[in-house]
Assembly symmetry: none
Homo-oligomer: 418 residues x 2
């Protein structure tokens, strides 16, 4: 149990509770429980239960109590907001009977915030900084509601705001360091690989080809569009030969393996551009700015990314990217020829070393027998040379656009690796 | 409670349980609970709890029992597979003590499947078609594990495979029709409003100003960046006066209310551009293509969106958008003057009726005392007129970029409403 546990004694059990009626109704999907679980993976704390419950005091009390039967640490997200349906503090108070106080630092931050946006706090806002007396407070650096930790009957309850943008930094910068200190946690040795643009089943088969002793390693794959992450952990705290694993990963995955520490294809592209002192420009039709958006998600992208042109209509392709009218007429806007001309145009116009161009049919309409929805053409210019290729991408508009952007970025990554 | 309930009597309570250690570890995120919740919304069944629990018999039993205390219908996904860590049937058997039988139809389908892929069933495969005696079976049209429904002590337990591809059709084609028939469910009337660029707390207060009878309405707010959705449902199946609600929404929210059926600010912008036969271009610095990406998320955006220029570096601002060097020198790249010049440049270059420009400091670096991280300047050109404004946006790089894009889009929406 939370407060009674002796250091290093046994594995602490954790229950995670996301609150919010919109979550149990299914209007939106909770992301917080999975995020906290991932953050605790490798710490030695063991998450045994996720629950999601609506904004109702009786439901909350029942779920909090059940969680306290199953775990020593209960982490609650949501229900700290200003409105009538925020009940986390009230439900805890009903169970554990504490007094409430106002977090004065939080109140000051809140007042400063409202002044800065020329607004007055309104009814209910004070609720966001009202906390159990005697609790440990977690200031909110991004939003208004204060997080807190209260211990009762040997159980530790931690409450954080439900908005992921506020919860995540609070958890990583304040709650997790506290837990690590308090329970003398040590991070188990682990290694994470990122593999670009391969299917999960293929990655799974390839990992099995690693010449390592799998008797002493636990591993798992987390898949996201265009990227599979493989995490290796030493079994039962066994040491992990990271160098041997990395060497096998390089041997088996080759260029599909992202550099150590890179967490996405776009991050790797920005890193390589800086490293090589080269610049990139984009010319996008069907992806409509997604490639540029992904590049500029990365802080410091400006060092290697000069800019982009979104040539959604043919007029912009002709006038701004200087794609010759004959190419558009003879080959169509979705063609490798047009993609090549777009890349050349971007290079010239935006004065970069490389340019990548995308033109395709994202759907749902616009497909033809010849060029069905999902047909996407790419052009990559490197000085005078322009390389083109085409792909057929399955799925809806969103997926076609996303996978197209990733193909483009991964092509640039390969060029930069040469 | 499940089996004892008389038709039309009261709202049936439902608990959803996703099983799988990979889910509580956070390696992958459960999608099943949210899917089932969404499918049940408006049916009159009330989902009160989601839980996710690992593949451990004792944990499963505890969660199943707690769910049965809170709900009459318990829907379990996962744990029906062939491997040692599939325990759903075992945990239920421990609680309710039933006999097991083999689903012979399921066994035949399984054998036919293995013949078709030239493989033999292996140890454990039979587990996928082993079900409680006396249960109602849900054949699996896509995979191998049979779903089932068993009632005990007035509680209804429904078990389905965890793989979403198998669970979804089983739920929609077999389980949901059964529940609709069994409990004489009907879809409840509901109305959803979308309110742009207001804080949740403010929306909450404003809804309370609606001159309607809240004794007969249940409502809730779902918040996402830049947008609050308010859903109204008739209480206990009471009819909903949608026109009266809509009139109140228009009165109270004014221009912040999105048109009926529009689900986002960008969708509304694209709709209004088409409706008015006008065109828009974008000039983005700190948002790096996000405004254009959002516009082109909407199918048919090409009718009103001509294109955009991502002027990440000052060179592109000068050379492509023709922002005068003196403006950049005298006012800085992040200034309303530069934003105005960028908007003018985009209008000219991309030949559109309107142009919107954004330049700001998204962070984490680049802030100054004068212009801290989060300072963002906007310019909107409408023919000869250019309007500018500036905002201070709290949060990390991702949030500053997202909220900036939404301010820009919402400004354009307001222009188009005039």
């Amino acid at each position: 149990m939370g407060s009674r546990r002796r250091k290093g004694c046994s594995v602490e059990r954790v229950a995670l509770i996301a609150t919010g009626s919109e979550l149990v109704y299914g209007s939106i999907q909770d992301q917080n429980n999975a995020f906290i679980s991932r953050s605790l993976f490798n710490t030695g704390l063991s998450v045994v239960l996720h629950s999601t419950v609506g904004d109702d005091v009786e439901e909350l009390k029942s779920v909090f109590s059940h969680a306290a039967e199953r775990a020593g640490i209960i982490i609650i997200t949501g229900g700290l907001g200003p409105t009538d349906d925020d009940h986390t503090v009230e439900a805890l108070k009903d169970i554990y009977d504490f007094d409430l106080i106002v977090d004065e630092d939080g109140r000051k931050r809140m007042e400063a915030f409202f002044r800065s946006v020329d607004r007055e706090p309104i009814e209910g806002d004070l609720k966001m900084v009202t906390v159990p007396e005697g609790s440990l407070l977690f200031p909110n650096d991004v939003g208004l509601a204060t997080g807190f930790l209260i211990e009762r009957d040997g159980k530790m309850f931690i409450a954080m705001p439900g908005v992921p943008n506020e919860m995540r930094p609070m958890f990583q910068e304040r709650v997790l360091p506290y837990l690590i200190e308090r329970f003398a946690l040590r991070v188990l040795p682990s290694l994470e690989l990122k593999v670009a643009m391969k299917r999960e089943a293929e990655v799974n088969l390839l990992v099995r080809e690693f010449a390592v002793d799998f008797g002493k390693i636990v591993w798992g794959i987390t898949t996201s569009p265009g990227l599979n992450s493989v995490t290796f952990v030493g079994k039962d705290g066994a040491p992990l030969d990271e160098n041997a694993l990395w060497a096998e990963a390089e041997r088996v995955f080759g260029d599909a393996l992202l550099a150590r520490g890179s967490s996405s294809i776009e991050e790797e592209v920005v890193r390589l551009l800086r490293l090589k002192g080269r610049t990139l420009a984009t010319a996008e039709s069907c992806t409509g700015g997604l490639v540029a958006k992904k590049l500029t998600d990365i802080p410091g992208a400006s060092a290697g990314f000069t800019g982009g042109i979104i040539a959604y209509g043919n007029e912009v392709k002709k006038k701004v990217l200087e794609v010759p009218g004959e190419i558009l007429e003879n080959h169509g806007a979705v063609s490798e020829e047009t993609a090549a001309a777009m890349a050349r145009g971007a290079l010239l116009r935006l004065k970069s070393d490389y340019a990548v161009a995308i033109t395709g049919i994202a759907g749902p309409d616009g497909g033809t027998g010849d060029k069905p929805v999902g047909t996407v053409c790419f052009g990559v210019a490197d000085g005078d040379r322009v390389e083109t290729f085409a792909r057929r991408i399955m799925g809806d508009r969103e997926r076609v656009r996303l996978i197209s952007a990733l193909y483009a970025l991964d092509k640039v990554r390969h060029l930069l690796l040469k």
